[in-house]
Symmetry: C2
């Protein structure tokens, strides 16, 4: 059976429609990331999300099978985007000294948190009580991420370049120290008189966070930390 003349046009129309559908889906997720980060799951209505996305709330049901499905899609995108970014950064550093790897990954972590604190706001909602969703995220993405960082911390400790203690525990201390200031920026602004998102502040913040955890490997060396790489 030969394809009739209308088929090409038809296929083209289908592709365009699919394209538009994908864009709608993405716009909804974008808007939902913003709202969920600000108000948490219970504090968000699919109506306000869809309005901010420029569509109707019924499309949330169509694309995500309801509010919960939208939440999954949001967490999936945000967490996956973070972990793959870190993973790629690590792969680009193959062969480099592990202490340097760790330092650069953690620096990137801080800068990522400054660029988009919504990951941590979302996690603060998702991880504050046990749930199947949390378990799934841990199993799928975050578990191996924590293992990877713990491995690097252990290696850095062996070389005497990182403070002593349980690697995962120290990782959590780092995460907290690095991100709190961005998660509560209005309060910080009020206390410190400057925005933590100011580029100058971010540089100082990166240095302060790293300085807390990295040690100069030899006692004879100066306490000043080596110049940090700025380029990716």
């Amino acid at each position: 059976m030969e394809a009739p003349a209308t088929d090409r046009k038809g296929a083209q129309r289908v592709r365009k429609e699919q394209q538009r559908a994908i864009e709608t889906r993405e716009r909804i997720i974008d808007a939902a990331i913003e709202e969920f980060a600000r108000h948490g799951f219970e504090g968000v209505s699919t109506r306000s999300v869809s309005i901010n996305a420029g569509t109707r709330h019924t499309l949330v049901t169509y694309h995500f099978e309801g509010k919960e499905g939208l939440w999954y899609a949001v967490m999936d995108r945000v967490v996956r985007s973070f972990t793959t970014q870190q993973q790629e950064r690590l792969e680009g550093l193959r062969g480099v000294d592990e202490v340097v790897q760790l330092r650069l990954l953690l620096e990137e972590f801080v800068r990522y948190s400054a660029r988009d604190p919504r990951l941590h706001k979302l996690m603060s909602h998702a991880a504050s009580e046990a749930s199947p969703q949390l378990e799934r995220m841990m199993a799928e993405y975050l578990g191996s991420y924590f293992k990877m960082i713990a491995r690097l911390i252990k290696a850095a400790q062996v070389k005497g370049a990182f403070v002593a203690g349980d690697p995962n525990h120290l990782h959590y201390l780092f995460i907290g120290a690095a991100t709190r200031i961005f998660m509560q920026s209005p309060e910080v602004n009020r206390v410190m008189g400057e925005s933590p998102f100011d580029p100058g502040f971010i540089d100082r913040h990166v240095a302060a966070c790293l300085d807390l955890f990295f040690k100069a490997p030899e006692a004879g060396k100066a306490m000043k930390r080596p110049p940090r790489s700025k380029a990716q």
Copy 2:
């Protein structure tokens, strides 16, 4: 005009009613702290709060003039209870070396966060965007608290006992490092295989947090930190 015989009984009844009213008010606040900490302002209904408090939702309106008034009452109680506790701890340490004062206040801060992480969960909701409420809390309670800690950090830095850097900045690093682990305990549990609320863990956590920020004043001294006071 003499008071009639019924007055004594009447006054007694009024006192009892007032007492009961106060208890109702307190029970509502207790329940609201729990709910607001978990779900944030938008995610909470006055109905569920009042059910958990064992009353009707109309009493929320009566006692607090609505949901927003309840939110104010909650934040007021939680923040005030924290700052006065720290204030009293400080007053009990009059005359003590400032480095020791700071160390003990920060230790108390960590243990307080472990006892009741809801303060920080509430703040993470209240301080993530600017608002008149936040401004009021800062002006009334938290502003002077941050000033007090900054003063002690500065003094400790002069004595070479605390890491260098802007005192308020370092304070935020400390707050983040100390509290994140309790705010996301289910995630931590999954990663570390133990609860951060385990007494043994809390002790190790206190030590780890303090060790990050306090320095041994002399290079010749051993790196081990002095035994921490456990009592009050």
